[in-house]
């Protein structure tokens, strides 16, 4: 097995088991989606109007759940030192960690998102669009979330700090994705919002690992 292959397998297993992995993320997501009608009122008209947006916000929150553990375990048990002493650049290692995180939370959440939105009353014809947005948004959430997780390394109560660092970085995908969904639902041009979401995810993939690796080096030194 190659070094990179071994790392991908390891990171995915670790992310799958981290903080309950996909089950907890999807369970939390389902919980938030169930709470909304209780708080807002069960009128189908009102729920239908907010369904795609609510599903999207819940998605951003559910993505936060296991983020703090992404680097912290490796930092505490010394594995991050060993990961740094390798011909594989730390940037690539961070990138693979984010892919593992996305496979364990982003991808299962993307599957759950259309179901939650439909349960809240969104039209089933929106499902493919919600799935596509959630898939793309999940990539942005994982990579931007990784930056927050790496920056809060070594801090006490790092999880709260991670959330505070990361939430502003989650704002653009929430705006672009929510806007695209809203436009799509109302038959308006939606491609620009979707394209912005894709561009944001792409830049998160490109720049996130650089920031994460720098933050990790700083924490290790």
């Amino acid at each position: 097995m190659s070094r990179i292959g071994a790392l991908i397998a390891r990171e995915t297993t670790l992310a799958w088991g981290r903080g309950g992995g996909p089950l907890v993320a999807v369970g939390f997501y389902a919980g938030v989606a169930t709470f909304l009608p209780l708080a807002i009122g069960p009128e189908p008209e009102r729920l239908r109007a907010i369904a795609p947006g609510a599903a999207w916000v819940a998605l951003a929150l559910a993505s936060l759940l296991s983020l703090e553990r992404m680097f912290e375990r490796d930092y505490e048990d010394g594995a991050l030192d060993l990961l740094a002493l390798s011909p594989t650049p730390l940037e690539i290692t961070c990138l693979i960690k984010c892919v593992g995180q996305w496979l364990a939370t982003g991808a299962p959440l993307a599957l759950a998102a259309p179901i939650a939105a439909i349960a809240l009353g969104a039209s089933p014809s929106l499902a493919p669009m919600i799935f596509a947005c959630a898939l793309m948004g999940g990539i942005a959430f994982s990579f931007m979330g990784g930056i927050g997780a790496a920056l809060s390394l070594g801090a006490r109560r790092g999880g709260l700090l991670t959330a505070v660092i990361v939430l502003p970085l989650f704002v653009p995908p929430v705006i672009f994705g929510g806007g695209a969904l809203d436009a799509f639902a109302n038959g308006l041009p939606w491609t620009s919002g979707f394209a912005f979401l894709g561009a944001y995810a792409a830049s998160a993939v490109a720049l996130g690992p650089l920031a994460m690796a720098a933050a990790c080096r700083n924490a290790l030194s």
């Binding site: 190659s2 070094r3 060993l82 002493l85 390798s86 011909p87 594989t88 290790l220």
Partner: protein
């Protein structure tokens, strides 16, 4: 392959405090150096500086003509206080991963496990191992993935008397094969040919 470690006039500052300055060392292939000094004198920091994880305040560290990036990427093993093992994984999974990550062959895992008498423990989760067994598992990756320079931070502390001898034999074999060892120690290092004392 590194055949030399040269530390020249190194100084390290941590949190505004100068740990040491003017520390020099010239270590050739086959030599081991025991790093001694009181708690807080900077032994761990010096090891981490050689590994490139901690920046030097002054001085330089060279690997005998090998590019430092290449040396740190492929020729250094660091064994710190923490073993870098995941409690929920089996010993086999951890040893295999770190062997592959360190550039060793998967086939070497079994041999290293036999060397450190871990064969019967490989299917246990790391959390079920004792501190000494865990340390042996961590040290097995040094044997399984050959790298020239071993940086060891108190490697013997959780080991029993028999394994202190056992690991001394493994270190001797590494030195005979042209390896280098720098170890932070409070007890005498059984294979030391050199020693470097850090004073606070």
């Amino acid at each position: 392959m590194i055949s030399q470690l040269v530390i020249k006039d190194a100084a390290i500052r941590r949190g505004g405090r100068l740990l040491f300055e003017g520390v020099s060392l010239d270590l050739a292939a086959g030599e081991a150096c025991a790093l001694t000094g009181p708690n807080g004198s900077g032994k761990t920091s010096l090891l981490r500086a050689v590994a490139g994880l901690v920046r030097l305040e002054a001085g330089e560290i060279g690997f005998g003509g090998v590019d430092p990036g290449d040396a740190r990427g492929g020729a250094i093993h660091l064994q710190g206080h923490a073993d870098g093992l995941k409690a929920a994984h089996t010993a086999r999974e951890e040893l295999t991963f770190w062997t592959v990550w360190g550039g060793g062959a998967e086939a070497a895992v079994r041999e290293a496990a036999r060397d450190l008498e871990l064969t019967g423990l490989l299917d246990l989760e790391v959390r079920r191992l004792s501190a000494g067994q865990r340390r042996r598992l961590a040290l097995a990756r040094l044997v399984a993935a050959p790298r020239a320079l071993w940086l060891l931070d108190e490697p013997l502390s959780p080991l029993d008397a028999r394994w202190r001898d056992g690991f001394a034999a493994i270190m001797r074999r590494h030195l005979d094969g042209g390896g280098l060892i720098v170890a932070a120690m409070h007890d005498p290092l059984p294979v030391a040919t050199r020693s470097l004392e850090l004073t606070a």
